[in-house]
Symmetry: C2
Subunit: 354 residues, 2 copies
DNA sequence: CTGTTAGCGCATTCAA
DNA sequence: TTGAATGCGCTAACAG
């Protein structure tokens, strides 16, 4: 591996000349430039990123904090954040480090202090996030995919859950639905102050109230089975129910199946709307109406926010709270009163599966 | 940010003494050690990782090459690789860089040459992978999650697809099934030499042949809808079919639904077995029998293989081809001839969804 | 047991 | 337009 001084020697110039030829930070005659690049080609020279970082005091490395794998199971959308951020960061000439750390861990700060990493992208932040506080106090650059309660001076991108749930309720209300069920996050997540859980819950309740509808909320773990169980129970307990709002992609298939097994047709007898990525909206035989969760955009913007901060392109913190677009597919329609059925024809499937 | 020389000054010792106190590479008296650590604490000293890397010529950074997001949609298992590798790498004191690059791109090599990254983990390798060839020729450390055709001298971890499909067929054969369908990868993937696609296909065909059964193969894109369509078509075209083998988690729900909609009960009338992660096996109302795809293990081992190579713990390349365990759940049972139904009661759902 | 010194590969300041 | 020299923060001989 050739070094810069090797190149300099071979081109018959000084080390600094080579450096400047590379960076273009001072004028170099065509002739010497030619010789230098020739020498670089001959030697198959590659600048040493680490050495450059040490001299520049810029590592061009940022890190994305992955939520701990044990707690919440990773949703489709989460991975999309990661993939999208990775791609964006790379396009902007930076490198993305993937860190796994318990949400409360502060050893993150060490690595920042070390100068190893120039900035951080956080996801799955809670309303009162210690990490955010710590970063803010020390003035380290970071961006959020998500929001806290107090976001003063923070760059972030998040879904506008308030708007999303409001739109969802409004859409259903417009179709004449009077009693709407929200299949939501696990209650513990609400208690722990997880933003999406709290905000969507609040917004649903207020929207339902404003429109004079009745709303029923039930939360559960992010698995199809739990979604199924919850929906099934709700359908029995609440005969007036004619629509579900689902906010987790993992719940969708379970909820749909519960509705089917109750003998209800979608959308004739029952409507379902999801606040999820369009990609997750296409069940085998049902395209679900969604408020499009823009996961890829969020990953991209989260990355851009951080890097613009680092390059000085953006001085002021920017906040993007994205309002999701409504895409009407086949799962929502005019409300019809349900017949008095709690479970029906499809129900045997479950018992039959010994 | 305090530097090592600051610490040295404050402790009244030489720079190198501080360095050695930190690394423990030479004996230091208790007294000076105490003073040094005291000074470090006073100054809130953090060693500068980049500088250390430059001096050591070891960055303690490895990279994981993410498959390009456009081509294959990312499966559950893929993300599990990433998350698991990230965690493992971190536990071993290294950092994981996420790279997105087209599979044919060789600019990867530049970064290795630069000394920025010490090694690579590749996933989604094809049987004849140019990247692997290039890495091998230049002697760069890397490990594979997956396999090529020729794996001489390469460290890798992969699922034993041969064994998996053989087990799947054997399990079904043992239950009396005579005609088995394989819902598999998109044909283009087989043609392009994608390992899992090719190996599972081959193995299925040979297993079926060996046991004197008849096997039908159909491949499609990795979405529930495509899985549904393919299964549906097969059920109509092949009345003798009594079981499906599914090798992509994304297909599972679609295939199951197609079977249900054909009026068949699982497992009484029809059996389904998946070569997928247990986590994906639990549909809302059906726990599917699987050959457990050990995605987390594979991510972990892939990372370990690379890092052991870097630390010199492993001189010889190691290859782990994991045989999946069979977990019998509710979706497989004794074979019964199907009645002459091609489509049935559930079929209306599809049409009804306008 | 401890101090001195010379790099690691590059950016950059100061001269020329 | 170019060269020489200094230093980024640390490790690792080499002395003592």
């Amino acid at each position: 591996m050739a070094t810069m001084s090797d190149v300099a020697k071979r081109a018959g110039v000084a080390l600094s000349t080579v450096s400047h030829a590379l960076s273009g930070k001072r004028p170099i005659s065509e002739e010497t430039k030619r010789r230098i690049f020739q020498a670089m080609a001959d030697l198959d020279y590659q600048p040493h990123a680490l050495a450059r970082s040490l001299a520049t005091r810029h590592s061009r490395i940022v890190a994305l904090l992955l939520p701990p794998s044990n707690s919440t199971t990773l949703l489709e959308s989460q991975f999309t954040f990661v993939a999208s951020a990775a791609e964006t960061v790379r396009q902007m000439g930076y490198n993305l480090l993937l860190w796994t750390a318990p949400a409360h861990d502060l050893e993150i700060l060490q690595m920042l202090q070390q100068g190893f990493v120039e900035g951080l992208i956080l996801m799955e932040v809670s309303l009162h996030d210690v990490r955010v506080e710590a970063l803010k106090v020390r003035g380290y650059p970071f961006s959020l995919i998500g929001r806290c309660e107090d976001n003063d001076g923070i760059s972030l991108v998040d879904l506008d859950f308030e708007d999303a749930l409001q739109q969802a309720v409004a859409h259903l209300a417009g179709l004449g639905h009077q009693t709407i069920g929200l299949v939501s996050h696990f209650p513990a997540l609400v208690d722990s102050g997880y933003g999406p859980a709290v905000r969507s819950l609040r917004s649903f309740q207020s929207a339902v109230k404003t429109l004079g509808l009745s709303g029923i909320v039930r939360g559960c773990q992010a698995t199809p089975q739990d979604g199924y169980e919850v929906a099934r129970a709700l359908l029995v307990e609440q005969p007036a129910l004619t629509a579900f709002i689902v906010v987790l992609d993992a719940h969708l298939s379970g909820v749909v199946q519960a509705v089917w097994e109750a003998g209800l047709h979608i959308p004739e007898d029952f409507s379902i709307i999801g606040v999820i990525a369009p990609r997750s909206a296409h069940l085998p035989t049902l395209a679900v109406t969604t408020l499009d969760f823009p996961a890829a955009d969020m990953g991209r913007i989260g990355a851009e926010l951080l890097i613009k901060q680092l390059t000085g392109e953006a001085i002021q913190p920017q906040q993007f709270v994205l309002r999701p677009a409504l895409t009407v597919r086949q799962s929502t329609g005019p409300a019809h009163k349900r017949e008095g059925i709690g479970s029906a024809k499809g129900g045997d499937r479950r018992e039959s599966a010994t």
